[in-house]
Structures are given as structure tokens and as C-alpha cells.
């Protein structure tokens, strides 16, 4: 099924233009990396603050209020540039186990981020600046950190696995 999807994408005029215009793929990759920079540091800041390891000058809700918009915008940016890369070379990504793992982990990371957003910004005891986050949100923070960094590792490994 994936095979035929790749074949179909490859035959599309969009795929052909991405391949033929030499700068599209390098530029998309560069923008993709800049998006990664925004996500990794934002996730680090939020998750370490929830775990009480860093950034304690800001409250947990203060941290999420600042960094969650960066995460969601960067996710949109990376989805767009990622889609361009996939359409340009569907076989390199869709059939690649590193890419498939990456997408699975991405779904988990997005759910974890959404969970953190709900728990911190909802009507919870986290509102106070000194409030100590409970264990559910702490567990989500650990998952979120592990997931986002694993996603980045998988992304890099697409180049090496096939």
C-alpha cells in the first residue's frame, strides 16, 4: 500500500517540481532544523520547569504560556517543510523504518504536549507560582522530553537507515 502511495506521489507534478528545483530540498531541510531548534529548547524549558530542575524564576504556567505557542507554531512549520521533503522523495521517507518510528513517536509527543497544556492551563492547583506539579504532569514531562529528543534522533537516522 505504501509502495503504491509512493508511486502515486512520485508521479505528481508537485513531486517533480520539488525534485527539479534544486534549492527547495536544502532550504526545506534548513527551515526544518530551525523549527527543531525552537521545539527542542521550548520542550526542555517547559519539561525541566515542571520537574523542578530549571527555570524556577518563572512559574510553570508562565513557562507554558511562553513556550507552548512556540512549540505549536514550530510543529506547523516542521509539518509543512516535512511534507515538502516527503513529496519530493516519498521513498526515502515513507518506506524508511526510522521515519515510520519518528511518526509514531510524533503522535505520542503531540499527545503528551497536549496533556501538559491541559493539565497546566486548566483549572488545576498548578496556578500558583510556588505550586509543585503533581506526578501525572511530571510523568508527562519526562515522556515529552524523551519523545522530542528521540524524534530528532530518528529524523537524523532517516539518512542512514533504509
Amino acid at each position: 500500500m505504501l509502495e503504491s502511495l509512493c508511486a502515486w506521489i512520485e508521479k505528481s507534478p508537485l513531486s517533480a517540481s520539488i525534485q527539479n528545483v534544486g534549492w527547495i530540498i536544502p532550504v526545506s531541510q534548513i527551515v526544518h532544523i530551525l523549527g527543531l531548534a525552537a521545539i527542542l529548547f521550548s520542550a526542555l524549558s517547559i519539561d525541566l520547569r515542571i520537574l523542578g530542575v530549571g527555570g524556577r524564576r518563572t512559574s510553570v504556567p508562565g513557562m507554558t504560556a511562553h513556550f507552548l505557542p512556540w512549540i505549536w507554531s514550530a510543529v506547523a512549520l516542521m509539518a509543512t517543510t516535512g511534507a515538502i521533503l516527503i513529496i519530493g522523495e516519498p521513498r526515502r521517507d515513507l518506506l524508511n523504518p526510522a521515519f515510520q518510528t519518528k511518526m509514531l513517536l510524533l503522535v505520542c509527543a503531540l499527545l503528551a504536549t497536549l496533556g501538559i497544556q491541559r493539565m497546566v492551563q486548566g483549572a488545576s492547583p498548578l496556578g500558583a507560582a510556588g505550586g509543585r506539579p503533581g506526578w501525572p504532569v511530571r510523568i508527562l514531562a519526562v515522556f515529552s522530553l524523551a519523545l522530542w529528543f528521540s524524534i530528532a534522533v530518528c529524523g537524523r537516522l532517516i539518512a542512514y537507515v533504509n
Partner: protein, 190 residues
């Protein structure tokens, strides 16, 4: 002694040869390098955007700096070590590669910009800690910092297009792709 002969000597050392011959060491170093540089750029951008008055305007500059800079420095150290391991595996190729040379030059610029900012502008930060945006000199430094670091990422990406086959480890098995890549960066990917 020319740069190329120094690079040749580095490439011939034991550790450099083991990295070049190993199947996993280069990918591992590259993965660590990319993750670390992402955190460097992501963290420094937060401070730059605060100085420019774009985001986190409610917080004093010194607080943002204290939150952010430990990440920047730690990850810069990690990226430099991982990058050195990548460099020694094919020192001649990198030392003579234009995007690589540009990247090193840009790192110098970023460092000089930071030093100038730190010694002249940041030393008086108590006078403008709560201002958003910061004074013009700080805004210029922040804009330059953002530009230099983004350019470092761009050059880093171009290094892999110009020196390797599909940004894998340097390989002799597909020299054609490397040659093509030097003419047309997109070619290595097709």
C-alpha cells in the same frame, strides 16, 4: 606548514581513522551534533528575541539570560566536541570545503559579537533590564546574533551536501554523488 598538511596529519591519527572506518561513530557524532546545535540556536534565539522586544517582554533581560545561557554554553560544548569528531574523520575534505570554512568564520563573528555585547552593552544592563525593546546597541547585537546563528545552521547543512553522499558518513563507495553534490547541492539527494 599549510592547513592541508595539518589536516592530512589529523586524518592519519588513530582516533580519526577509527571514526572514519566505523559504521556507527560518524552517524552518532552527527546526531549528537545536530541535537546540540538545535538547543544552542533555540536557546540563544530566546534571549535575542527578548533583547529585540519581540517576546517575553514582561521578564527582565538578566533573568532570561540566566535561564537560557547555561543551556547555550553546555550544548555549545557538546556540539563542538561532536563536531570535532566529525571533522577529524575527514579533515582534508572539511578544511578545504567552502561552506565549512564559512561556518567557522561565522562562529568567529558570533563569538566576537557576543564578546563586544558582553563587555560594552551588557555591563550597563541594570539601567535597561526591564526595557523592552532594549537599547539600540543591544538590539543590533541581538539581530546580528540571530543572523549569525541561522547562517551557521545554513552552512552546516551545506557542508553535508558538499562533502558527503546524501549526508551520510564520508564514503568512497559513491564518489560520483560527491562530485555531483559539489556542482548541484540537490543532486546528492536524487
Amino acid at each position: 606548514m599549510s592547513i592541508v598538511s595539518i589536516a592530512q596529519w589529523i586524518e592519519a591519527t588513530g582516533p580519526a581513522r577509527s571514526i572514519a572506518q566505523s559504521t556507527w561513530m560518524f552517524p552518532a557524532a552527527e546526531t549528537v551534533h545536530v541535537l546540540a546545535i538545535a538547543v544552542v540556536v533555540g536557546s540563544i534565539a530566546v534571549l535575542d528575541l527578548r533583547l529585540l522586544g519581540v517576546s517575553w517582554k514582561s521578564r527582565p533581560v538578566t533573568e532570561v539570560a540566566r535561564d537560557v545561557l547555561p543551556f547555550t554554553w553546555t550544548c555549545f560544548g557538546i556540539a563542538a566536541i561532536a563536531g570535532s569528531l566529525m571533522f577529524v574523520s575527514a579533515a582534508v575534505k572539511y578544511a578545504t570545503d567552502l561552506p565549512f570554512q564559512l561556518k567557522m568564520l561565522l562562529l568567529l563573528f558570533a563569538g566576537a559579537n557576543m564578546l563586544i555585547f558582553h563587555h560594552f552593552t551588557y555591563s550597563g544592563v541594570e539601567n535597561w533590564d526591564h526595557n523592552a525593546p532594549s537599547p539600540r546597541a543591544a538590539k543590533v547585537a541581538a539581530g546580528l546574533s540571530l543572523a549569525f546563528w541561522i547562517a551557521v545552521v545554513v552552512c552546516g547543512r551545506m557542508v553535508s551536501f558538499t562533502t558527503q553522499n546524501d549526508f551520510g558518513p564520508p564514503s568512497a563507495s559513491n564518489p560520483q554523488a560527491t562530485v555531483l553534490a559539489q556542482v548541484d547541492p540537490g543532486a546528492a539527494l536524487r
